[in-house]
């Protein structure tokens, strides 16, 4: 029995899956932005000498370093639906469980997972800039906010970009696990499509191709941005 790879079905699945590309992208980018904001606050607090920022950042980084994303996703999923069910059944609030969009749970879980990695990224970037820059800003009478905005931010943007690139691709890759909590994104749409075509291997190869191209494009784009920023920086320096 020889197997024939059906390329038509593969392109069908890919076209169908591409419709859900916005879901994948919004899932990964919203959670990245949220995680970046929180991670920046934490690491800037640490940079300015606040011990609390350091400890909270450590907890987040240990959490995301050691616990699989799938467990984070499933825990949040079960917790949110459990609490909603409890509130509607026992307390008597009027909550329709079916109306909760799992996309928000996915964003929550992925951003909590992302904070740990982004805290490390920001911390290493801030470390490479050094404390002297802050003191230099103070010495000419700038406030903390001004120093961060005018002096430190432009520098850490360049320092953090290579690591940030890895974080972006990692988050896009992790967003495919969101199929386990019934978010319909690229991978899940392909899984659903196979239920009608039985073309499993074609669907998975198609998915792999989509993610491959997407991630290569994003890595290339950020690489270009990186080079651009570096050249600009050198020109002004």
């Amino acid at each position: 029995m020889s197997y024939r790879f059906n390329t038509d079905l593969m392109t069908d699945t890919m076209i169908n899956a591409l419709k859900y590309l916005p879901v994948t992208l919004s899932l990964s980018f919203i959670s990245l932005v949220l995680a970046l904001i929180i991670a920046s606050i934490l690491s800037f607090k640490e940079y300015l000498g606040d011990k609390k920022g350091f400890y909270i950042g450590r907890v987040f980084s240990i959490y995301s370093k050691s616990i699989p994303v799938i467990l984070t996703l499933l825990t949040f999923n079960h917790a949110v639906y459990g609490i909603a069910g409890y509130l509607s059944e026992v307390v008597g609030l009027n909550i329709n469980i079916k109306k909760i969009d799992p996309l928000w749970i996915g964003i929550l879980a992925l951003s909590i997972n992302g904070i740990g990695y982004l805290v490390e990224t920001m911390r290493s970037a801030l470390k490479s800039v050094g404390k002297g820059q802050l003191e230099a800003g103070y010495s000419v009478g700038m406030t903390t906010f001004q120093t961060i905005r005018e002096i430190i931010l432009p520098q850490i943007m360049i320092e953090a970009l290579p690591n940030l690139k890895n974080n972006v691709t990692a988050t896009i890759k992790l967003s495919s696990i969101a199929f386990s909590i019934a978010i319909i994104e690229v991978f899940n749409s392909a899984l659903i499509y196979t239920a009608t075509t039985y073309a499993y291997i074609e669907a998975y190869v198609g998915c792999a191709v989509i993610y491959w191209i997407l991630n290569e494009l994003i890595t290339g784009g950020i690489g270009l941005l990186e080079r651009n920023l570096r050249i600009k920086n050198k020109a002004t320096a």
């Binding site: 699989p68 467990l71 079960h78 459990g82 026992v90 890759k173 998975y204 290569e216």
Partner: protein, 236 residues
């Protein structure tokens, strides 16, 4: 449904899930050892710049870096049996899914190991090779006795991070029907008792502990084998 969340179940489930540790550890150790070997081979191909093989490794690296682990796992799990049947005629569809998990993750992790080792070897001075050749050592001798010990020391932190990531990713094995690891057991336990959240939290605790052990083991390795060299390099 009387109890929605019972905190007393968490220790109970954690003890029950301990039975999943052997499979998870077996997976982890197998994949690590195989990836070290394969990653070294990839790194050598990249450094030696062997034509044709170099291009293949470059494509593999790009693939493993850009495609999600779960998609790679599914491609291997559904694609390998077809390839095996095509070439040897053996029906592989009923083989243990663990085998395919090992193959998929070895492939994925070896690429990351390859990059870690390649950068470590390339960071070493070219003079190291030349010094070895000057006292009449052959290339394999120089590589094993001089380059490798230093490269391993440099790449150990990166290897540790990649190993941690891989252990987390092996939790996905339950999606293709592995039921004996921590995650597979947790899904079954939670599904059977409807205490899904407790099962998830117990599994998370176990992964946390496993990761702590891993970090301790790596720091022990670092201390035991490489502190002497580090002191020496500081003194010089």
């Amino acid at each position: 449904m009387g109890q929605i969340f019972d905190i007393r179940l968490i220790p109970e489930y954690t003890v029950k899930l301990l039975s999943g540790i052997p499979t998870t550890l077996l997976l982890f150790i197998l994949v690590t050892v195989l990836s070290l070997i394969l990653g070294m081979a990839f790194a050598l191909i990249k450094i030696q710049n062997i034509p044709f093989l170099y291009q293949i490794v470059a494509i593999l690296i790009s693939y493993a870096r850009s495609v999600p682990g779960i998609v790679q796992l599914f491609v291997v799990f559904y694609g390998m049996p077809i390839l095996i049947e095509e070439f040897t005629g053996v029906n592989a569809t009923l083989w243990d899914p663990l085998l395919f998990v090992v193959i998929a993750y070895t492939f994925n992790t070896s690429v990351f190991f390859c990059e870690a080792m390649r950068t470590a070897i390339e960071s070493l001075d070219k003079g190291q090779f030349e010094a070895g050749f000057s006292v009449g050592m052959s290339y394999p001798q120089v590589f094993i006795r001089i380059i490798l010990p230093q490269a391993v020391r440099i790449s150990l932190p990166t290897l540790e991070i990649n190993a941690c990531t891989m252990m987390k990713e092996t939790a996905l094995a339950y999606t293709i029907g592995v039921t004996t690891d921590i995650m597979g057991r947790a899904t079954i336990l939670g599904g059977r008792s409807y205490h899904l959240l407790e099962a998830d939290i117990s599994a998370s605790i176990l992964f946390l502990i496993l990761n702590f052990i891993l970090v301790i083991v790596f720091s022990r390795i670092n201390k035991k084998f490489f502190t002497f060299k580090r002191k020496e390099s500081v003194a010089v």
